[in-house]
């Protein structure tokens, strides 16, 4: 069933985004698994879309010891828990304009689970539309999931790669707040300071705060024409040039990564999850203010 609410927006890859109407029409489809990912851990237990499972960005997606993501075995166990096979269509949604849903989507791409979508508008839109919510946690039979080895290269970059990219004047997008970009603050407005010794941005990075890609009233992504005006016309980014997005730990930039890669069709865009908590604390790396 074509998703007419999304199809009219002019996106390069409209199939990765589905509307709340589409999700409502597919609630009982066993080949679709709804996954809620939030910053606020109370939200899922307080009520979620019927049939949705919870994936926590800290405990489910990150390695418990090292600063890294789960391994192949961890992903296999996660997918088994949420009853998903390689053929399952995973639809992510969550709080804060789908900020964390996009982060989970991105981590799933480290394992090549391309059969994935984002529900446009996330929790906020679903709730505002008065659609059904439940506290019932679905009971799912464990699935057999053949997980490949994690392959970071297609969607993730590391510090040394970013340094080379910056030195060759590569395209960088800093999606943090203007205050973080300018170095006048080292954390998000209204958030605690979680530690960076230096403020500023990676040399050459353009400042495009992540939330500009979303409509504030319902958390939906802006249509392609508005995204093009924001990223291409106003900030001079080129779809054809390799692009790296970053923020503080790589979660806000997952949202921008999603918008650039799928909605605008950037050919080569990656997320630097080390982001400012690594760059701003590393000895000797270049910084601009």
């Amino acid at each position: 069933m074509p998703d007419t609410a999304i199809a009219s927006r002019g996106y390069a890859n409209p199939d990765v985004l589905v509307s709340t109407e589409w999700v409502a029409a597919h609630l009982n489809n066993p080949s679709i698994r709804l996954v809620e990912s939030n910053e606020d851990t109370l939200l899922y237990p307080s009520g979620h879309i019927p049939g949705a499972v919870h994936v926590d960005w800290t405990t489910d997606l990150n390695d418990p010891l090292r600063r890294d993501y789960i391994t192949r075995e961890g992903f296999r166990a996660l997918m088994s828990r949420i009853g998903a096979t390689r053929d399952t269509t995973v639809v992510f949604y969550g709080d804060k304009n789908n900020w964390w849903a996009c982060y989970a989507f991105w981590v799933f791409q480290l394992f090549g689970h391309a059969n994935a979508k984002i529900m446009d508008g996330g929790r906020l839109k679903w709730e505002k539309e008065g659609r059904p919510m439940t506290r019932e946690v679905p009971s799912l039979a464990p699935a057999e999931y053949e997980a490949p080895e994690r392959n970071d290269a297609p969607v993730r970059v590391f510090r040394e790669q970013v340094l080379k990219h910056a030195e060759t004047k590569g395209q960088l997008v800093d999606v943090r707040s203007p205050e973080e970009y300018s170095g006048t603050r080292m954390h998000m407005p209204d958030y605690p300071n979680e530690g960076a010794l230096r403020g500023g941005h990676i040399p050459g990075a353009k400042s495009v705060p992540w939330a500009k890609a979303a409509n504030p009233e319902d958390g939906t992504f802006r249509p392609a024409a508005e995204l093009e005006a924001l990223y291409l016309q106003t900030n001079g980014l080129d779809k054809d040039k390799p692009t790296i997005a970053y923020c503080r730990i790589g979660e806000r930039s997952s949202h921008t990564w999603f918008a650039l890669k799928y909605l605008l069709g950037f050919k080569n865009v990656k997320n630097y999850d080390g982001s400012w908590t690594e760059w701003g604390n590393s000895v000797g790396l270049p910084i601009e203010k």
Binding site: E39, D40, T41, L42, P45, S46, M188, D190
Partner: protein
């Protein structure tokens, strides 16, 4: 000054639960008991002077002086995802309403960490502590 008795009882109750799932259930039970500010006290659009700063849940707070000199707290939470704000509002109302402003003004934002523990994350904690601070400010203003 000591934490008011009813609030201390709530903190003690949370302290007895070590299982995160139990603490989550307890928080949700408080959120379910949340009662929005009654129409006779305030109607939408709420005055911006009642808006809690830095709170993503768009929480509002009122402290009404009662004939006996105590305060009655009221809250509104406009963001439908403001479950934590509703839980904290219910806790503050149930444990502090009916106390004199001098006692309420002594409550400090560190109770947020004791109540929410692993359920506190990044931006949410700042907003919740700001709710407590807003209550303190209103209580201080009401002191005779």
């Amino acid at each position: 000054m000591a934490v008011p008795q009813k609030l201390q009882a709530v903190l003690d109750l949370f302290a007895t639960f070590s299982d995160p799932a139990d603490r989550t259930s307890l928080l949700l039970s408080y959120a379910d008991q949340f009662k929005e500010v009654p129409r006779e006290v305030a109607t939408r659009p709420f005055g911006q002077e009642h808006l809690v700063p830095h709170c993503e849940s768009e929480a509002y707070v009122w402290a009404l002086r009662q004939p006996d000199g105590t305060l009655k707290l009221h809250f509104a939470v406009e963001n439908p995802s403001g479950v934590s704000a509703r839980a904290l509002g219910a806790i503050l109302d149930r444990s502090l309403s009916g106390l004199p402003p001098e006692q309420i003004a002594e409550v400090t934002p560190d109770i947020v960490e004791q109540i929410f523990r692993q359920n506190i994350s990044m931006g949410k904690g700042m907003g919740l502590m700001s709710m407590v601070q807003a209550v303190r400010s209103l209580a201080n203003a009401a002191r005779t």
